[in-house]
Symmetry: none
Subunit: 180 residues, 4 copies
């Protein structure tokens, strides 16, 4: 009834749900199999080691996309960046990304890539708006890094503190600081 890759997908679905919920270490492979509705052995058929489930999840279900923003109003450019995060990933995948950063190199690498791309784009958006590179490089760098941090951790902040940050207002704030 199932297509061959159907079971594999269901395993990844289950793992995504469970890793996001209880964490990698706290999730037995048997639990993954049960939630996926497949026999225990099939998990190891597709993923020889448990860690391969996590690695495959990150490999296949998060994607850091590189794209340059349009020139224009810096506050709007940052807002757009916030809305179109250069990360194709479900909310659960984003939680997994941060929680399991120390579980396997590939996870940390993906976060690193994401943060770099966020900073790169924020910096680029701000530079486009600056006439002729005027202004303080350190302040621009800090502004880009700050905005990246807000975007990167907004999910985590919300999860840990219940506090949400409005990225649009932060974008406006940063634009104001740099461009008056």
């Amino acid at each position: 009834m199932d297509s061959p890759s159907d079971a594999r997908s269901r395993i990844l679905d289950a793992a995504e749900e469970l890793f996001a919920g209880g964490g990698y270490d706290a999730t037995p492979t048997a639990r993954i199999a049960a939630v996926a509705g497949v026999p225990k052995g099939l998990v190891f058929h597709y993923f020889p080691r448990k860690i391969d489930v996590l690695v495959s999840l990150v490999d296949e279900r998060t994607l850091v996309t590189e794209e340059d923003p349009e020139p224009g109003d810096p506050a709007r450019a940052l807002s757009t960046l916030a809305r179109r995060l250069p990360l194709t990933a479900s909310p659960s995948m984003r939680r997994i990304l941060f929680r399991e950063a120390d579980t396997h190199r590939s996870v940390k690498d993906r976060i690193h890539g994401l943060n770099s791309e966020l900073i790169r784009r924020a910096r680029f958006a701000l530079e486009l708006a600056l006439p002729g590179g005027r202004g303080d490089a350190a302040r621009l760098e800090a502004a880009a890094a700050t905005f990246a941090a807000v975007l990167l951790y907004q999910e985590s902040i919300a999860h840990l503190t219940g506090h949400t940050i409005d990225a649009d207002v932060v974008a406006d704030l940063i634009a104001t600081a740099l461009f008056g």
Copy 2:
């Protein structure tokens, strides 16, 4: 030879080191005992359940301090906040705090308290500088939350991305945004 509390301290020292390094789940109590140089049984003598080691660590080795800033220049007030984080905790304890936020309620509560206090103080510092509460409440809130986020996650950012953020420059940025 050792005083009783000496062994207890050494156990907590070892746990702090190991939890920060490999995480709570990945650290066997036997390893804690070995690193602490005490017999395995003694760990359970002082901490009946493994989770008690983590809880005690957070209870005894992180402290969210409440204190109001002096009125004055907002940028300097924020910088001071950055330098005197309302958290008495070693770098490893800070890493444990974030990594194990989902391991036990008490950890998440501590982070929550820390974030609240950070926001409260940042807000207070900015309000003191604002003549009579003038200005946009939403922007002030976002500014406080942003600064708190930068402080809260700077360690994590550095660990995950190798990128450091200069809190002083961010303080200056935020002050500029709000006060021109």
Copy 3:
């Protein structure tokens, strides 16, 4: 592309190599298939149970040949026996024979047959040289068994100890002992 029996042969080739190397128990059927370059299912197509691979190997790739020696000089007759072992089997098959003697009856039976034939021929060669069955039967029996043991285990001895035994010298020794 391959003829059916081609695949079957390659499976046996692979099994021979792997059983000789790591032993029967330590060799997964999947490994046999991989080394043979055939899909896993095909192994079970030809050999319904894993043990059938071993049994077929012994059945088809070892052969205890029965043949009577020429009458003549006993030392030369024994030397000839050493050189023309009544066992048609590659070195790997010989190692498998001894290592897996307890894995399946058919293996032990084959060794038993080989040993019996070795003793029978050694005895026969010595009897031919003895005028009219003179001499001590027990000594003749021990001589035959000793020579058989040397031949049977020379491979094993070399493998385990690095020590080689020159069968010709042993043949001469035994002839000297019996015939002066």
Copy 4:
């Protein structure tokens, strides 16, 4: 009730019996525990890895003893060697030694040591009887190696073929061959 090392001994007893019977690979640790009458976990308390059971068995329950034979009649000296094997080991340990030679280096090393000592002593016994080193060195070497092989493999031969070899007769044979 049990002395601390009592359980450990019972585990080794059980392992000795089971390894001799069915072989190392075919013996689950759970079976060892059951036969020893101890809980599964205790096996791993004393022997972190299954292979450590085998290694400990060989280390502690086989001993290759070095001792020089008395000068005298060579046939009797060899017979004495046969009766006082330079190996302190139960029959089961001897079977384990040969069967598991390829399972772990330490086993093969022990056999190697045993074989060397057997050859050394047989050679020594024969040299003592030879007036002034007269005679062919190659024949003496082959004689010693042959006798060592008979002693080394008599147990294995009996097990595999049901045929027993009388070491005394072989000793006599060899003495006759060398000394007439």
